[in-house]
């Protein structure tokens, strides 16, 4: 707090410093990593998920969509893992071990689990960021210019919020074709109203602040005030929400494929894997469904931990 001395200069653009004074300080990333273990874990998970989204399919020991000869093989016992690991390092195993077993079709579960973020994380990130972009723009305009046109936008947004999320997303994807791009669009559509509402509320409260009046008095054009001064100060609730939304989007993406309305098999995708193994689960063949679910839960946890840190900083 005290390490930043705020002096208010006499210049014409003093409102900028007043604004900084109001919203306090920056998000201290390093300090938080050191002091908040949950944030540290969350950051590691998020970084790992991004790394796997970029390189997962390339570092997988087996081709995630090519069947092997071993069908429904259980994962090796934990006691065998050290030996197998030594074998991997020395290169003495005859074939890479199936760390997490293989599924009904002979696909390597481990390879598929680490190749899946390419689909899941990409879709979730694109969907969440698209709704963030759409939502903040619409919310900014609707909060800054309050007239009949923006009133209509808000009423439409109200109507869209009454739609059940999962059913609507499923409807959009199924009727427009089960492709990655259509899932991204569906996610963006169902999540945008939340961002509109959040941003609009924040823009409206920021508009009443002194720095906005100062900017106006200094003769700035209204649109530039909205864009350069109000928007940066109104982004925080939407940014917190983005992190939460990514988690929900991962689950929604997987849920869609679980009910048969998401990406098509044999794409490596967590929801598809869980659904593929579901019928075998009650026969005791648990590994096909359990591991992708664990990966998914850990990933969502990572994004939630980051959201929590943002939230605390904001408060």
């Amino acid at each position: 707090m005290a390490d930043r001395i705020v002096t208010v200069p006499e210049e014409i653009d003093q409102h900028i410093d007043v604004a900084l004074l109001h919203t306090d300080t920056r998000f201290r990333f390093r300090e938080r990593l050191r002091k908040d273990p949950l944030f540290l874990i969350g950051s590691i998970i998020v970084a790992l998920s991004l790394f796997l989204a970029a390189f997962g399919p390339h570092i997988a020991p087996y081709d995630p969509t090519a069947a092997t000869a071993e069908i429904a093989e259980p994962p090796p016992a934990l006691s065998e893992w050290p030996g197998l690991l030594v074998g991997v390092i020395r290169g003495t195993n005859e074939a890479p071990p199936h760390w997490l077993g293989t599924d009904q079709s002979g696909l390597d579960v481990f390879s598929r689990v680490i190749a899946a973020p390419r689909t899941d994380i990409t879709i979730a990130l694109a969907g969440a960021l698209l709704s963030l972009a759409l939502g903040t723009i619409i919310g900014l305009v609707a909060g800054f210019y309050r007239n009949w046109a923006t009133e209509i936008v808000m009423r439409v947004s109200d109507v869209l919020q009454a739609f059940p999320v999962f059913i609507t997303a499923m409807l959009l994807v199924t009727l427009s074709g089960r492709s990655v791009i259509n899932i991204v669009i569906a996610l963006a559509l169902v999540y945008t109203p939340i961002f509109v509402r959040l941003t609009r509320a924040e823009v409206m409260s920021q508009s009443a602040r002194g720095y906005v009046e100062a900017a106006r008095a200094a003769g700035n054009r209204p649109f530039m005030i909205a864009l350069k001064h109000i928007l940066p100060n109104s982004m925080v609730p939407a940014l917190v929400q983005t992190s939460v939304t990514i988690g929900f989007a991962i689950i929604l993406t997987a849920g869609l494929s679980f009910v048969g309305a998401g990406v098509r098999p044999p794409a490596p995708e967590w929801g598809l894997m869980i659904s593929h193994g579901a019928s075998q689960l009650i026969l005791g063949e648990w590994w096909t469904s359990v591991f992708p679910g664990i990966a998914m839960t850990i990933t969502v946890f990572g994004y939630a931990a980051i959201a929590r840190a943002f939230e605390e900083w904001f408060r």
Binding site: A162, P164, L171, L175, I251, A261, A278, I282, V300, A304
Partner: protein
């Protein structure tokens, strides 16, 4: 006063539902899907295709289809939405309203029990963790609450089936709402647990409870994290308020202060019920698929995958209607509980 407020809100809800109806009507018709081809098959002759399109009414201009759907200037001879008719399912040829009346109570039963249980568990936990931040209760609930309901619910459902059915054998197999060997009781309310009791069928009642066990457990587990988190936040805010400071300064016993804070924290929790009710309605879709419950979620999945437009419109409208009515109901309760709110 409250009467006028309710009337006004009902009016808004009605307009919103009309909006939902229009949006869903145009949305499914603007997307590049061909429901006729889906129904008659890819190899059907041109004649069969056209005959089917005529039978479904999709060969007519869009405005006429909308008129038939709404029931104004209709040329189909059927009643429309404004007369309380949701049309006939393209797949089963049964009125959509009849089908939804059968499946909706199934979902409402699961969701209602889950929400009740979740609040029973989450309220004391949230209060305890707010009263001693950093204490044991707070630490236990921290990570659980962090997920805020963002959990792969269908996966947890499967996991519970594996553990409680396959490994421990204390739960029934995830198929249906009641033991298939027992006669299904006649539907009165549609809530299996209530219907069986009304008809004095205690064995069927126990079986229904048994079959509700895992779906409810799954939803409770997923949603209570979010409730704990919000109750904690609300209570913390109440405890830091001026009137609690005043109550403490006046030397009131801690138990009484806690009661004041509880009341202040409970009122926003009423609003939460509404939010979580619609969250659960959405989550119930995948859960119903896991446990083959045959509720409105599973009905939605089936209708969407079959491109059954009247059924899709009906499901979206009914689910939106239920959410809006619950929000309205809770706003009324809220107004009674919170003396600051005057309409």
């Amino acid at each position: 006063m409250i009467g006028r407020f309710v009337l006004k809100r009902l009016g808004i809800a009605f307009l919103q539902l009309i909006g939902v109806a229009l949006v869903v009507f145009f949305m499914i018709r603007m997307l590049p899907a061909d429901p006729v081809a889906r129904l008659v098959g890819m190899n059907a002759s041109k004649d069969a295709y056209e005959q089917s399109a005529r039978a479904l009414g999709v060969d007519q201009p869009l405005w006429q289809q909308l008129a038939n759907f709404l029931g104004v200037f209709s040329n189909s001879g059927q009643k429309g939405l404004l007369q309380g008719n949701l049309g006939v399912s393209w797949v089963t040829n049964t009125p959509v309203l009849t089908e939804i009346r059968d499946v909706l109570p199934v979902t409402l039963e699961i969701v209602t029990y889950s929400l009740l249980l979740a609040f029973l568990i989450a309220l004391p936990l949230g209060l305890a963790s707010a009263r001693k931040p950093g204490g044991i209760a707070d630490r236990i609930t921290l990570i659980w609450g962090m997920f805020a309901g963002a959990q792969p619910d269908f996966w947890w459902g499967l996991l519970f089936v594996f553990v409680f059915y396959f490994l421990l054998n204390v739960a029934p197999p995830p198929m249906g709402r009641i033991d298939p060997l027992l006669a299904t009781p006649q539907a009165i309310t549609g809530f299996m647990t209530i219907d069986t009791l009304l008809q004095g069928r205690f064995d069927a009642f126990l079986s229904a409870l048994h079959h509700l066990m895992l779906p409810v457990l799954t939803l409770v587990y997923v949603v209570s994290g979010a409730i704990v988190k919000m109750v904690r936040t609300n209570t913390l805010r109440a405890l830091q308020s001026d009137y609690i400071l005043y109550a403490r300064a006046s030397g009131l016993p801690e138990a009484q202060v806690a009661r004041y804070a509880l009341r202040a924290a409970l009122t926003p929790a009423i609003t939460l019920v509404g939010i979580f009710y619609s969250v659960l309605l959405s989550a119930a879709v995948t859960i119903e698929v896991v446990f083959t419950m045959g509720g409105i979620g599973q009905y939605a999945v089936r209708s969407i995958l079959a491109f059954d437009y009247p059924a899709i419109q009906g499901v979206v409208l009914v689910v939106a209607f239920v959410s809006l009515m619950i929000y309205l109901l809770l706003d009324i309760v809220h107004a009674y509980l919170d003396p600051r709110i005057r309409y």
